[in-house]
Structure formats: structure tokens, C-alpha cells
């Protein structure tokens, strides 16, 4: 799992200049939201976009992360204001619930728009 994540992380960290150079009017990779471009954080944001709230345990099971990994990535997203983390007690059991904020929804929409723009641009180039 960790090895796969490392591979995914390394792949995501390939500098934009090593990828095929885009045409002058193509959406620039540098304009990408690097925070959610990371596969793990993108998975967290996507899962939360499909649910009103998810508990720490649910999110961990859905994405297949360790406690530590989820905490680290969730904290980064929380610091960016993309999600809120609500800690409460259910009986005597502590329960952590995550919720995507409006900024988080907006960031995901912008990321989706960006990906679609890249694909549209590539298609228009192929047709031309």
C-alpha cells in the first residue's frame, strides 16, 4: 500500500516541464491546484463531495489509508479551508467527522473544469 502510494506520489510530483509541452493557449499545468492534485487528497475530496459527512473510520476504509496518512492529508486540507473536522463523543467513543466546505467544493469544481479544459484543448488540436 505504502509503496503504491509512494509511486503515485512520485508520479504526481513529476514537474510539469517533463510532460509534453502544451500549446500557448492550453490550460497551464502550473495553474493546477497542487493541493488536491495529489491522488490521496483528491480521493478524500472526491469521497466527501459524494457524502454530506464521513467519519474518520468510513473515510479510512473507503480510501484504504492508514490512520497516520489520513490524519496528515486531512490536516493539510483542513488548513487550506477545504474541509472541516468535527470531533465529538458518541457515548464514550470519540468520533471524528469530516465535511467538505464550500471552498472545498469550489476547488474540486475548478479542478474538474481544469481537467476538462485540458481534454477539450487536446481534442480541438487533434481535429485541427
Amino acid at each position: 500500500m505504502a509503496a503504491r502510494q509512494n509511486t503515485a506520489r512520485k508520479r504526481d510530483q513529476i514537474p510539469a516541464r517533463t510532460v509534453a509541452r502544451p500549446a500557448p493557449h492550453a490550460p497551464r499545468p502550473s495553474a493546477l491546484d497542487r493541493l488536491i492534485h495529489d491522488r490521496t487528497r483528491l480521493a478524500i475530496v472526491s469521497a466527501l463531495a459524494a457524502n454530506a459527512t464521513l467519519s474518520f473510520t468510513e473515510l479510512k476504509a473507503l480510501i484504504g489509508l492508514s490512520d497516520g496518512n489520513l490524519s496528515v492529508h486531512a490536516r493539510k486540507l483542513e488548513e487550506a479551508g477545504y474541509l472541516t473536522c468535527l470531533k465529538a463523543f458518541e457515548g464514550r467513543m470519540p468520533k471524528t467527522e469530516f465535511k467538505l466546505t464550500e471552498a472545498g467544493h469550489r476547488a474540486l469544481r475548478q479542478y474538474l473544469d481544469h481537467m476538462e479544459a485540458i481534454i477539450r484543448h487536446a481534442r480541438s488540436k487533434t481535429r485541427a
Partner: protein, 197 residues
Amino acid sequence: MLSGVPVPALHERAAESLEFIRDTMARSASFTAVPGRGGVAIGVIGVVAATAASQSTTQWMWLGIWLIAAVVAAPIALVAMHLKARTYGFTLWAGAGRRFMQGFVPALAGGAILTWAIVRAGDFDILPSAWLLAYGAGVLAGATASVPVLTWLGSGIMLLGAAAALSVGHWGDVWLGTGFGVLQIVFGIIIARKHGG
């Protein structure tokens, strides 16, 4: 090329990202298209069927009443689910909707086959428990991909099925009316209030 490994084109990586987001969302979403108001309508049919069946004079008449109730209720459930799913912008045949169906439908199919076998054997008294247990198992299996309240509905119906199995030949319509009628109405109202209609 990067260290001999071909780097995918930018648009290929973008398409990959979109696919990744779509997959994650489909995997994470719970199936919220279980119809509350449709459930209430099915419950009313259940109560009417239980009342009518309790006054039937023959076993075949009793079976006919319940089969008519099932034939009337099934399209109501399907149309209500389809309409609610459409409101939320997803389909019954993909993602969480498909997972729900994969849990729910096999149990119903099993119940239908059991019905055929039990009727052939002429042991009509077993039907209430078989129906309740099969339907309850289907609801419980579907609940794994849906709203948590369905777990309680499925468990309640299975308990009634167990009670019907323990009291074979007695109160069959009471168990059926409570499971397919009263519980459906109560949980239908809860789902309608908590999960948008």
C-alpha cells in the same frame, strides 16, 4: 521520455484524473434513492393486503391477494426509486445504485423461487416466514450500500420473519401486515423526512 519511461500526455493524465474522481465518488456515495413516500405507499398496500388476506376463505385466494399486492407494489417501488434517483442525478444501474440492487434483488429472486417450491409442496403456512426473511435479507444486504436506517428496517422485517417461522400456521397475516405494512410506513416516513422524499 523520463528515465526511459514514456510520460503520458497531459490530456491522458487529465482523463485519468477525471476517471479517478468519478470512480471514487461512485464508490463513496451511498444509495439515497430509497423512496420514503414510495415506501409509505407500499406499506399501505401491505396493510390492505393483510386485512383482505385475513378474510380469505381458501389458501389459493389468500395467495392470490398477496401476489396481487406484490405485483402492484413492485412497479410503485421501481418508479419511485427511479424518480428519486433522477432527482439526485444518478442512476439505479451504476455506482451505489448498482451495489444496492446487487444486494437487494438476489434475495427477492430467492424468495420468488422459494414461493414456487413451497406452493408446489402445498405448505402455504410457511410462506409468511419465507417472504419476510427473504425481503428482510434483501433490505439488509441493500443497506450496506444505502442509508443506515435501512439496516433497522431489514432487521425488523427479519425478526418478524423469525417470529412467523416460530409460529407457523398462526398469525401469518399479522406478521406480514406488520412487516410489509406498518414497518414500511414507519420507515417510509423516516426516510422521506431524513433523506429527501
